[in-house]
């Protein structure tokens, strides 16, 4: 089976990858690994990949404390790719009422620098953070 070269014209059956890992810091590396390999498909610059990985770490650091202690709780990730752009949404469910992403933390400060347009969803028992990165140097980055 031949694998088309990354960064070529997109004709994928879907442009979305999802995964769910246990809601524990030990598993964040798995999400980072998927971000790395998906970044190859998007053909981002190395700087973008590095910073997306930092963003995943920081987003996880903000979300995991909100996940509660329910056995089986998960950290989900949804990666949407297009040539030159990758959007990563991380979320947990089962958050306690009123539990909010800590916007006074170092993690938030770094995250909002890495993507000034990051999105946060705090609805019901779901808490989500979405960051995206367009290829450095391209228009709209």
């Amino acid at each position: 089976m031949s694998v088309p070269a990354p960064g070529g014209p997109a004709s994928w059956p879907s442009d979305v990858t999802t995964l769910c890992v246990p809601a524990h810091p030990d598993f964040v590396a798995s999400v980072r690994a998927v971000v790395r390999s998906t970044a190859v498909v998007a053909d981002l610059a190395m700087e973008d990949v590095e910073e997306l990985q930092i963003a995943v770490n920081e987003a996880a650091a903000l979300l995991l404390p909100l996940a509660g202690s329910t056995r089986g709780s998960g950290l989900s990730a949804r990666l949407e790719v297009e040539p030159g752009r990758l959007c990563v949404r991380l979320w947990i469910t089962g958050a306690q009422p009123g539990a909010a992403v800590d916007r006074g933390s170092l993690a938030w400060m770094m995250l909002s620098t890495l993507d000034p347009e990051l999105q946060v969803v705090e609805a019901g028992d779901e808490r989500a953070i979405e960051v995206s990165r367009a290829r450095s140097g391209s228009s709209g980055a």
Binding site: A5, P6, G7, A33, R36, S37, A39, V40, D43, L44, A45, M46, E47, D48, V49, E50, E51, Q53, I54, N57, A61, D102, G104, S105, L106, A107, W108, M109, M110, S112, T113, R135, S136, G137, S138
Partner: protein, 272 residues
Amino acid sequence: MSGLSRSPEHARARPVPEQGASTPLAAVETHDLWTTLSRLPAGASEREAVRSELIERHLPLVDRLARRFTPSLTLEDAVQVGSIGLIKAVDGFDPELGHEFVSYAAPKIIGEIRRYLRDAAWLVRAPRRAQELQGAVAQARDDLTQELGRPPTLSEIAGRVGTDPHAVVEVLETFRSREAQHLDHTDAPPAGGAAPVAALAIEERGYLATEVRMDLAQAMSSLDEREREVVRLRFVDKLSQAEIADRIGVSQMQVSRILRRSVDRLRRRMQA
């Protein structure tokens, strides 16, 4: 390890002659040597001789501990590395605290050997291809940035180096595993309070909750001067990695590594 002879004879009980100005060091009780060492001012000519004598007397301890690490290491390598731990222990030991030197030194000697093992293990674990690629990728990244006037994509770097883009991106992870060894290392806070100043620069942007500020100042002090500057330029001044590389006169790859290492260390410190 030149100058250190590992003769077990040094550790044997010696007759204790009457001490005086002309008593050879080899004939002085270890306990008395510690007392002498603690009283001699730094730089005193006798101090070095007393220190060397103490190091030599405890080399059999290194020998004993080093044997635990064979066959992962040759005994010779383990002793060489463990001796560094011993020297650090001799320099850091304060006999006035009333502890036994052996209890103080053993963890330092073992720690030194373990650190060495961990570093050596990285050299074995890291895929050889990724190691070889590191230099080529760093060079291609810098060259292409100059040529294109923008950061090159993964496929462009791969094309220049003659490899697959997946191999290029895995170089990032090789850096990460290699740098894990540095995370325990903490540089002393610099004179002049640069760390709190850098933390203040972040604080002034109004990002941080009050309770985080003290922790951040503390965490920033675990970074060296260059790491603090890179963190400030990226997260306070919001420069891109390429702009930071230009500003401080290093390659983009170095900026990436400094940034990642600094963020990892800050996170660990903030969580500690």
